[in-house]
């Protein structure tokens, strides 16, 4: 009967640490948000479930021979999973609205100020002695402001693997909260008249432009910022597969079967980083606060950039589309549209906001490249 005693000694009740209990609650909260509030459920549900699994005392699912450990080693340590997801995102992205109005790319650039402003914030927090973030940590936290899950995970896995769980959770949570975070800032920084600005119809973009564009992006990356090549390369591959229309079956698989498989795995692997030691500390509070500020600053910077551009161009752009530059595709563009409609119920900004929206994906991948090069 000593074996039975062993069974009791091995049971969760006998071994549960308060930290594990708290983390299981965190996992349940993530699952609740995913299901009841529809916060990015594709990622937050597997992340939340992975958090539960990895904190089961004694199950060792994140241990050396545990499933979550294997998945994490294969997919996150190598960077393979976020890159494959980025390929799928590329295959789902339509650059048409951006090609019809390329200057909206600059809005996607401005919104990245959220990323770099946050780095300053993180180092300031450290200098105040509240937390202890290295510059690498600060950079990985800042990228939350890119509002791009795979980019955040890729950068965090390279610069601050210990913070990966908190960073991924913050990134996806705030992406889900975009409809709540952005509108007040948008209204604060624009006048009623600005919000009513009607934008002229976008021109039709030819198929050839859409096919050549990902190659142009890749060419610029190759020439000026090779450290962004993994992220933007896979993104452009996905987009080229889609737009070329000659490999539809590959493009379809990249968007569906492959992306879904990798999403489940990535979620579990991120969840496996959610151990009590890594998550339950002041640093996590700091990450959540900084992530939120990154979204706010990025939103503001995008809008202010639009207002700045209006000083120099003849046909004005509606500054509301600037906030879409943070990416969080397509949520942020929908928010622009919605706030625009509130000001003028004939003012459809969705297509115009898609330009800065997808530009923001490129923008934060470029920012990621700068960081990877800086610390490389």
């Amino acid at each position: 009967m000593e074996k039975f005693q062993q069974l009791l000694l091995d049971s969760g009740l006998a071994n549960l640490t308060p930290g594990q209990l708290l983390m299981m609650i965190v996992g349940l909260v993530l699952i609740y948000l995913a299901i009841a509030k529809r916060f990015e459920p594709l990622l937050l549900l597997p992340i939340g479930f992975g958090t539960l699994l990895v904190n089961i005392p004694g199950a060792q699912m994140g241990g050396d021979e545990g499933l979550l450990h294997y998945i994490s080693e294969v997919g996150i340590h190598t960077g393979v999973f976020p890159l494959l997801i980025f390929m799928g995102v590329g295959a789902m992205t339509d650059f048409g609205p951006m090609l019809a109005n390329p200057k909206t790319l600059l809005l996607g650039a401005a919104a990245q100020f959220g990323i770099f402003g946050t780095i300053i914030g993180a180092t300031w927090m450290t200098s105040m002695g509240w937390v202890d973030f290295s510059l690498q940590d600060a950079a990985a936290i800042g990228i939350i402001g890119g509002a791009d899950g795979p980019t955040s995970i890729f950068v965090a896995s390279r610069l601050a693997p210990d913070l990966l769980g908190a960073i991924a959770v913050a990134a996806y949570s705030y992406m889900a909260l975009v409809p709540i975070i952005q509108p007040p800032i948008m209204k604060l920084l624009t006048t009623e008249a600005e919000r009513k600005i009607k934008m002229e119809q976008l021109r039709v973009v030819t198929k050839r432009e859409k096919i050549v564009f990902p190659l142009v992006v890749l060419f610029l990356v190759a020439m000026f910022l090779p450290s962004a090549a993994p992220l933007l390369g896979m993104f452009c591959l996905g987009n080229l597969m889609k737009e070329s229309t000659v490999v539809d079956r590959l493009s379809d698989t990249a968007q569906n079967a492959l992306m879904n498989i990798v999403t489940i795995m990535l979620g579990l692997a991120v969840g496996s980083k959610m151990s009590a030691e890594a998550f339950l500390n002041f640093e996590t509070m700091g990450i959540l606060a900084l992530g939120l500020s990154a979204f706010c600053v990025g939103t503001a910077a995008g809008i202010l950039m639009a207002k700045l551009m209006n000083l120099f161009i003849k046909i004005p752009i509606n500054p509301l589309i600037g906030s879409a530059g943070v990416s969080a595709v397509p949520m942020a563009a929908r928010v622009s549209n919605k706030v625009g409609l509130e000001a003028n119920n004939q003012n459809f900004l969705l297509m115009h906001a898609m330009g800065p929206n997808v530009a923001g994906v490129i923008g934060s991948a470029v920012a990621a490249g700068v960081m990877l090069s800086y610390f490389g």
């Binding site: 600059l106 650039a109 770099f116 950079a139 050839r208 229309t245 960081m371």
Partner: protein, 77 residues
């Protein structure tokens, strides 16, 4: 100001600079690309070419169908 703060300011300047330069270059490159492509002969007919390509595929199927028809004729005849 601490070393860390100075480094982070450096990173911000360098980062935002690179992002703006890169995306500005992309604006130029994209605009140039669109200009060139829209002036290229054949761009407008491209969709038609695509349709033609699909038609070719259909022809292939027509071919198969013709074979099938011939085959079933022989079988029944």
């Amino acid at each position: 100001m601490s070393e860390l703060m100075r480094d982070s300011l450096d990173l911000m300047v360098m980062g935002m600079g690179t992002v703006f330069v890169f995306l500005a270059l992309l604006v130029l490159a994209t605009t140039a690309m669109s200009q060139i492509i829209r002036r290229m002969p054949g761009t407008n007919e491209l969709e038609n070419a695509q349709t033609a390509a699909k038609r070719t595929n259909n022809n292939d199927l027509t071919e198969v169908a013709a074979v099938a028809a011939a085959v079933s004729k022989v079988h029944k005849g």
